[in-house]
């Protein structure tokens, strides 16, 4: 093999390259280790203390710029175990109002690697969390007597009003899983839990800063390293402006006292949630500070589930509030026209099946059917659609089309509200019944109750309110959201865009008119207000848990809707018993600011009535 000697010389270039690099590195090391005195000055086992400076978390305002959530300082007692020297424990305990036993236990817990996996004798460890400001003041004075100890300022949340805990959420200490998933967090950090605190965590938290302090061999702080030249300033979190009207929220919650359920109000034109009350609620202040753990456990154990946000997490049978969707689908599919009458002989009687109804004039077309909430009308319409094989081929095919219309109106899937834990409700598809009844073995009559919002159909109060907003807008909606503005940031596009159901716009006006008639001379006459045109629809939903659920959805003013509201009261009986009064009071409060004198007794009644709920069987 012939060697190319010209190329072989290149070994000198490569060797030369690495030798030159090595020389440069040695010169640099010589400079760092021997020449530069800056580093030598700290050679006597001096070290730096890297102190995290926590940014202030973004504040939360309501839609009228009322401050709702703000920050309050808290103080953690920290120590670096290696630097702690024997100290006067009695004095220490007296200063902090703790017993020596408690102190010993705290030290043991801190060293326990199961409780505190990040323990190291050389890094800051937390001994006691969240001192009161009095304790803080006393300790600060005496701190020089306790070498190795220092105080770390932390940010806690505080709330102006005892309301909207389900929307606001709270903050908690990060878990080891949070730390693994997100580089931002280290042990002892706080993160949003539930509500907007969780869903807008990225905006609220800001950026942590670092302060570098010099300490001597005994751990005493000597000052800032190079006058803070290497410090990193914290960046405050961004403020949020909620779409919530906090006073309306408070009012809705007070109307729901003693009842279980939810009230959701939406501004139809924007999809902004005006109130999202879940009952029973709880005071958000319970989940702040040292008592958080105990209170949280108590709320978790409460059998009325206060932590469960019924407005978005509970799925209920929508009952008759579902009927407008049926009218819309039948019109869109050409099953009925505006004058098609269906009979009602005290209910829907067909093929050995009977769905009861209450007395009213019959036969009747769509609008009066909505006005009187006639069960038979919608059962007939549903049968006409699902069993129309000439048009759809099979009941299953017709049912899929029926289902797709509902999905386009926001049912059966999560709407995408900006709060964690939203439930999707339930709209069955044809496959569901194929499996349940065997393929081809079911038809309209088998599943007739879905046409009146019973049976398998489930919806969240938010979905019901969203349907109401869609009708108020006469054919479109914006994904409901609880945050109106993020400081220095544009809202995500999904909360600005209109979503259009697969129903032609022209049909909505007629359904709205039916709902208006229900208020002027139908099932929800109690919702009528003196000088505001209200439209509404009651719902009375049978359920396996006892008395019927009472539901209502309505919007006002009829011509220029400002608010669409849905009320759901568990086991409240008729829709007109609780749903209608509460819904109309919320509408009145929002639009007028006060309740008319002749409606005061109704308000009193709602504020004071209680529903008795049996203890759940274990």
């Amino acid at each position: 093999m012939r060697k190319n000697y010209n190329l072989e010389k290149r070994k000198y270039v490569i060797s030369g390259f690495i030798i030159v690099i090595a020389l440069i590195y040695l010169i640099r090391l010589f400079d760092l280790q021997i020449q530069d005195s800056r580093y030598k000055a700290s050679a006597d086992s001096n070290a730096f203390l890297k102190k995290t400076i926590y940014p202030s978390r973004g504040l939360i305002y309501d839609r009228n710029d009322q401050l709702v959530v703000y920050n309050q300082p808290a103080y953690d007692v920290m120590l670096i175990p290696r630097d702690v020297q024997p100290f006067d424990t009695v004095d220490f305990c007296r200063t902090l109002n703790i017993t020596p036993e408690q102190l010993v236990k705290r030290f043991a817990d801190m060293r326990d690697k199961r409780l505190n996996p990040g323990y190291s004798a050389y890094t800051p460890q937390r001994l006691i969390a969240q001192l009161s400001s009095q304790d803080y003041g006393r300790l600060q004075e005496k701190l020089y007597r306790f070498p190795g100890f220092f105080i770390q300022k932390r940010i806690l949340r505080q709330y102006n009003r005892p309301t909207a805990a389900n929307v606001l959420g709270n903050i908690r200490e990060v878990s080891s899983k949070d730390i693994e998933n997100d580089d931002y967090y280290t042990l002892g950090d706080y993160t949003g839990d539930l509500g907007v605190e969780k869903s807008y965590e990225r905006y609220l938290r800001g950026q942590k800063g670092v302060e570098i302090l010099i300490r001597d061999a005994r751990g005493r702080i000597q000052g800032r390293y190079e006058d803070g030249a290497h410090d990193i300033e914290p960046v405050s979190g961004r403020d949020l402006r909620l779409s919530l009207d906090i006073k309306l929220q408070e009012y809705a919650e007070s109307l729901m006292v003693g009842k279980r359920g939810a009230v959701v109000a939406i501004e139809p034109a924007t999809g902004e949630i005006l109130c999202l009350a879940s009952s029973p609620g709880y005071d958000p202040r319970l989940l702040v500070g040292r008592e958080r753990g105990n209170n949280y456990k108590r709320l978790l154990d409460d059998e009325s589930w206060p932590l469960f946000d019924r407005a978005i997490m509970a799925s209920y049978p929508p009952g008759s509030t579902f009927k407008p969707t049926q009218g819309l689908i039948f019109l869109q599919e050409g099953i009925i026209d505006l004058n098609t009458p269906y009979p009602c002989h005290g209910g829907y009687i067909n093929g050995g099946l009977r769905v009861g109804c209450h007395p009213h004039a019959a036969p009747l077309p769509l609008k009066p059917a909505l006005q009187t909430s006639c069960n038979a009308f919608f059962c007939w319409g549903f049968k006409a659609m699902i069993d129309r094989r000439s048009k759809y081929g099979s009941s299953a095919a017709a049912f899929e089309i029926w289902k797709n219309h509902l999905v386009s109106m926001g049912y059966g899937y999560k709407l995408g509200v900006d709060l964690p834990g939203e439930n999707r409700g339930f709209i069955p598809n044809a496959k569901f019944y194929d499996k349940y009844y065997k393929e081809g073995r079911w038809s309209a009559n088998t599943i007739i109750s879905v046409s009146i919002g019973q049976g398998e159909i489930l919806a969240t109060p938010l979905q019901i309110a969203n349907l109401c907003a869609t009708i108020a807008n006469r054919g479109w909606f914006v994904t409901p959201h609880a945050v109106k503005q993020i400081q220095d940031t544009v809202m995500p596009a999904e909360y600005l865009e209109r979503r259009r159901p697969t129903i032609d716009l022209k049909w909505f006006e007629h359904v709205a008119e039916g709902m208006r008639m229900a208020v002027t001379g139908g099932t929800c006459r109690r919702a009528a207000l003196p000088d505001i045109e209200v439209a509404g629809k009651t719902g009375t939903a049978q359920n396996p848990h006892g008395n019927d659920h009472s539901a209502f959805m309505g919007f006002a003013p009829y011509r220029d809707p400002q608010i669409a509201v849905a009320v759901y009261v568990e086991n409240g009986g008729w829709g007109a018993t609780y749903g209608v009064p509460i819904g109309s009071l919320v509408i009145e409060k929002y639009l007028k600011g006060t309740i008319a004198p002749d409606r005061k007794p109704m308000e009193e009644q709602m504020l004071n009535s209680r529903i008795y709920y049996a203890k759940p069987k274990k």
Partner: protein
């Protein structure tokens, strides 16, 4: 019994002992450093299986076994199965992100029970084998055909792309070192030089924009000085006349002197950038005239280099300023220029303090405080050199750097004594990997290179890296051992 012993001794016969001694020294040094880096005054034991050092000892034992097995296998096997090994590793790299469990954004680790392996480390020797196989083809001359370059670069780039997909930028960059091999095998030195120049200009132009000299950003000023030096050097190299260099130097120096006098003592505002650029332009004209006069067209390369460098510098700045601020930030963080939010810059500063506080003889073994206090991140892996610098001082650092230089030079020497192209190319691949890891890792720790997380071979904690480098080195030793039988 006798038979067996003679077999063992025949396995170790003709092995290059200097390399093995350096290898063992580095590995042992690694265990002690890892122990020191994770040492806790309260509770510790060198061999404890819970400690990093204990685990490293276990991995070293396995590494020795792997090395021994490699020496047992016939050297021709590696040559025969070079491509299948390469393809198998490539497939493994493709599969890895899907079966890996993510560790902070990186999907490069495959778990076997309690143990995790990083396939990227094993791509090193596979790629080296494939490259060596390509070059050892019948009458293969790199410069003969353009397609030869395409094939070589494909072999190098494939693992790079796959490792980048696993979010392991550092490991992926390692393969760039293989361009040294292409250079040794005939690629024009100008390409290597231009690539390095481009990287330097890119980093310097972006990095030093905060301060200014004579109204020119410090980075650009430094690059302009560098361009002058390169022009001078190149024109001398290609003309083989020192007087041209002397004339250029005198010209540049006088321009510099005039600028200094005008701005310093006289305190005038002068368009310094324009003056420097025009002086470079005049120098170009001078070189062109000389090249025509002396009929040395190669001298024009000096002009070309200068013009391209200046154009590149300005286009880097222009392109960079077109980017959105957050994109600029991103590039700066990747280059280790700007301190990222987790504070990579802060870490390097800590590492410099740790090394700097070591002094000449160091603080003594296990007496380091900076590394003990866990201010230096990754101190047992990527920043292991820190511990040596702090506890063993300049002397310790010198010894470790000396060991690496000895290892690299020894590998180059082994490369050049290979009778076959396959062995030589493979050996140069090994040398290139060591050069890259050595330069980047130590450069990063002492604050001269961007922070690119790659381990220091044999010293850093970690089984995958140790085994990867051991396989790399021992396959080379096997070829070297066999070279005499090949000659026979």
């Amino acid at each position: 019994m006798r038979n067996r012993r003679s077999e063992t001794s025949s396995i170790l016969r003709n092995v290059d002992w200097p390399t093995i001694i350096i290898y063992v020294l580095l590995v042992v040094c690694g265990v002690f450093s890892i122990y020191a880096a994770s040492y806790d005054f309260d509770e510790a034991s060198l061999f404890s299986i819970d400690e990093f050092s204990g685990k490293q000892i276990r991995w070293i034992g396995l590494a020795f076994a792997i090395g021994f097995i490699i020496l047992l296998i016939d050297a021709r096997m590696y040559e025969t199965y070079a491509y299948p090994i390469y393809i198998a590793v490539i497939i493994l790299l493709i599969v890895t992100p899907f079966i890996a469990h993510g560790i902070k954004g990186s999907r490069s680790w495959i778990s076997f029970g309690s143990m995790s392996l990083q396939p990227a480390e094993f791509a090193k020797f596979a790629t080296a084998l494939a490259l060596a196989k390509l070059f050892s083809g019948y009458q293969f001359v790199l410069n003969a055909r353009f397609s030869n370059y395409v094939a070589a670069i494909t072999i190098i780039i494939l693992p790079v792309i796959l490792i980048l997909a696993q979010n392991e930028t550092g490991s992926a960059l390692t393969f760039m070192a293989l361009f040294f091999v292409l250079y040794r095998e005939g690629m024009s030195g100008l390409i290597l030089f231009s690539a390095m120049l481009a990287v330097i200009i890119f980093v310097v132009a972006i990095k030093f924009t905060e301060t200014a000299v004579l109204g020119i950003p410090t980075g650009e000023f430094a690059i302009l000085l560098m361009i002058m030096a390169i022009m001078t050097g190149m024109s001398v190299m290609y003309s083989r006349r020192t007087e041209i260099g002397r004339n250029l130097l005198i010209g540049f120096a006088s321009v510099g002197l005039i600028l200094w006098i005008l701005t310093g003592p006289c305190g005038l505002e002068v368009p310094a950038l324009a003056i420097i650029l025009s002086s470079i332009a005049i120098a170009c004209i001078y070189i062109i005239v000389e090249s025509v006069r002396r009929r040395r067209s190669k001298m024009l390369i000096a002009c070309g280099a200068a013009l391209f460098s200046i154009a590149f510098m300005f286009s880097v700045n222009f392109a960079f300023n077109q980017l959105q601020p957050h994109q600029q930030q991103r590039i700066k963080v990747v280059l280790g220029i700007e301190e990222d939010l987790r504070g990579a810059g802060y870490n390097v500063n800590q590492s410099k303090i740790a090394i700097g506080s070591g002094g000449f003889f160091g603080k003594g073994y296990l007496n380091g405080t900076q590394t003990k206090l866990k201010y230096v991140p990754e101190q047992h892996t990527d920043f292991i050199f820190c511990t040596i610098g702090e506890e063993k001082g300049f002397v310790g650092a010198l010894v470790v750097i000396g060991l690496y230089i000895a290892l690299i030079l020894r590998v180059i020497a082994i490369a050049e004594r290979q009778p076959k192209t396959f062995g030589r190319v493979y050996a140069y691949c090994v040398a290139s990997y060591f050069i890259f890891h050595f330069c980047i890792n130590i450069g990063m720790v002492i604050g001269l290179c961007p922070v690119i997380g790659i381990p220091l071979p044999f010293l850093s904690y970690g089984g995958s890296s140790l085994w990867g480098f051991t396989i790399l080195l021992f396959i080379l030793l096997k070829f070297d051992q066999n070279r005499r039988t090949e000659l026979r």
